[in-house]
Symmetry: C2
Subunit: 327 residues, 2 copies
């Protein structure tokens, strides 16, 4: 049995060992670049951990673990292009370092490569089931991204809609990573299903945590600047509920900051003011409660998985550490 | 046995019957739009014809035929975005009608849908082989598109490089369509291989024909304006060879037109002048000869397919009609 750190090392070794000897080199350079940016490698490690619940020979599904990381990084590459984000993980994004056509084309090839790795060395008889789940997940993620884009243009996004959007955009990939690991390990269908549901709830808690940390994270460990969502009026769980629950005075104050033209205020002034409004309206507790709700849901599902506590230890520890992360 | 027209009708019916009931509707509207633009549906029909060489129940692989058309249209969608092309088949392209993010995201989902249809109802035991070929083909097409982009920035593109680029960009998909049809029909491996090689050569002839028709096509049937490649100095087979074979005087004249700033000439004046230069240098005959060369190669491979003339009739007729098309 492996712990998180051991599997993370294996994933990083696998990524470092990926060969990009196809031509033209210019098509594959951005792919290599994106994959070398680092990151927590949460999805491939979750897949290996789910597999490791049932089987020891985790190297048997390295290719599938790699596939899910390649896929995830392709979504980041195209997202950054669509968001016109200049930086990721401290370095220029692909469309800044190269250009937008390179980002489109290399991203497209990454998606195809994800399928390539998902199929390569796929344990006998599992190909159809794994690819069906992967494909359905990829469609759902596209749908989540589309909702995300549409919500930016709307002012009446409800909490339920928001939760469904982040479920599609974030949760289903964590869920699929876990389920694919279980399916490849020949776990009973009932448990593969539980692992999917576990991942779905964990993913919701995880994404809400992201919203939370963007406001209340410790700037020294958060990685990106705290308050980024506030500055661009991103319709997060926090902002949606702040509007829903604010009294007339707080709502006016929110409106003031949300509608204030860029350049007419000091960024930290806006971040401080909106954070104080969130505090006053009770958004910090509300978000914290919602994160705990989904984490408890995840735990409830997890407890139904019929394996020994020892067997289940590493994956659970990993889930807890994701919940208590500060970045 | 079906002829081209019957299969085309079946493909068009299949596309018209595709359901887009997933949400959000805004993600799927551009996909429906692109697929409803029409087109010759060459790739799905070729797949059905290859299958029909061996089996009658062509409806068994409709989903795979649809997949290859969805894939092809996804490449057009992203290509038009990368080329900043405003129109296709007489209507605005997706990034003009919607925006570039819609083009990126809907295109991405189309690629995933192509995999979905390729897997759906895939005849037993064929899934791995079909998807491996499809995935390798999609990687090659990305490579061809990258070469195409790079060639635009280079002035020393050789004829061989150009042929390899169009092989990757155009031929391998025709070849893969034919081979997938054969594989799904349980054709002998040797014949599936021959059909691939047949498609590869046919594709080269077909793409060179495109270059040729852009200069020498009949404007009344060509669909797009004759001379488009000349106006934007596209490095086609014609222009590459014109530079290679021109004497000093003709080369100066070519340089004059290629380097003349937009807006300083009447478009038809440039088209006429460059066409006359092509005539003078002997490019028309050269291109015509090259088209015939690849078509003869295709015929040579085709003759090795061990089926009756009657059986082979419809596909061959189709190949001939592609060669003698005027648009």
């Amino acid at each position: 049995m492996y712990n998180w750190k051991e599997l993370l090392e294996k994933v990083n070794d696998g990524i470092a060992a990926m060969s990009f000897d196809r031509k033209p080199a210019e098509l594959y350079a951005p792919i290599r670049y994106v994959l070398s940016m680092g990151g927590k490698r949460i999805r491939p490690v979750l897949m290996l951990m789910a597999y490791n619940l049932y089987r020891e020979d985790v190297e048997r599904i390295f290719s599938q673990a790699l596939a899910i990381e390649v896929y995830h990084n392709y979504t980041l590459l195209h997202d950054d292009l669509m968001d016109r984000a200049d930086m990721r993980r401290g370095v220029p994004t692909v469309h800044k370092k190269w250009d937008s056509n390179a980002a489109i084309l290399s991203g497209d090839s990454m998606l195809v490569m994800a399928y390539h790795y998902m199929m390569r060395d796929c344990p006998a008889g599992k190909l159809g089931r794994v690819l069906d789940l992967f494909t359905e997940t990829a469609l759902e993620i596209g749908e989540g991204l589309q909702y995300d884009i549409e919500f930016e243009r709307r002012n009446d996004v409800g909490e339920d809609e928001y939760i469904e959007m982040i479920r599609l955009k974030t949760s289903v990939l964590l869920a699929a990573a876990l389920k694919i690991g279980a399916v490849l390990a020949d776990a009973p269908d009932s448990e593969a299903y539980l692992l999917y549901r576990f991942g779905e709830n964990l993913g919701l808690a995880f994404q809400l945590q992201d919203d939370y940390l963007d406001v209340y994270g410790n700037p020294e460990v958060f990685g990106k600047k705290v308050g980024g969502d506030i500055l661009c009026n991103k319709k997060t769980y926090m902002l949606i509920n702040a509007y829903r629950l604010a009294d007339a005075e707080s709502r006016d104050a929110l409106d003031f900051w949300v509608n204030k033209a860029d350049g007419t205020f000091n960024p930290s002034e806006k971040i401080d003011a909106v954070t104080r409004l969130y505090d006053k309206i009770g958004i910090r507790e509300l978000c914290d409660k919602k994160i705990r709700f989904y984490f408890e849901e995840a735990r409830r599902v997890w407890e139904q998985v019929q394996l020994s506590g020892e067997r289940k230890g590493p994956l659970w520890d990993m889930a807890v550490s994701l919940m208590y992360r500060e970045s």
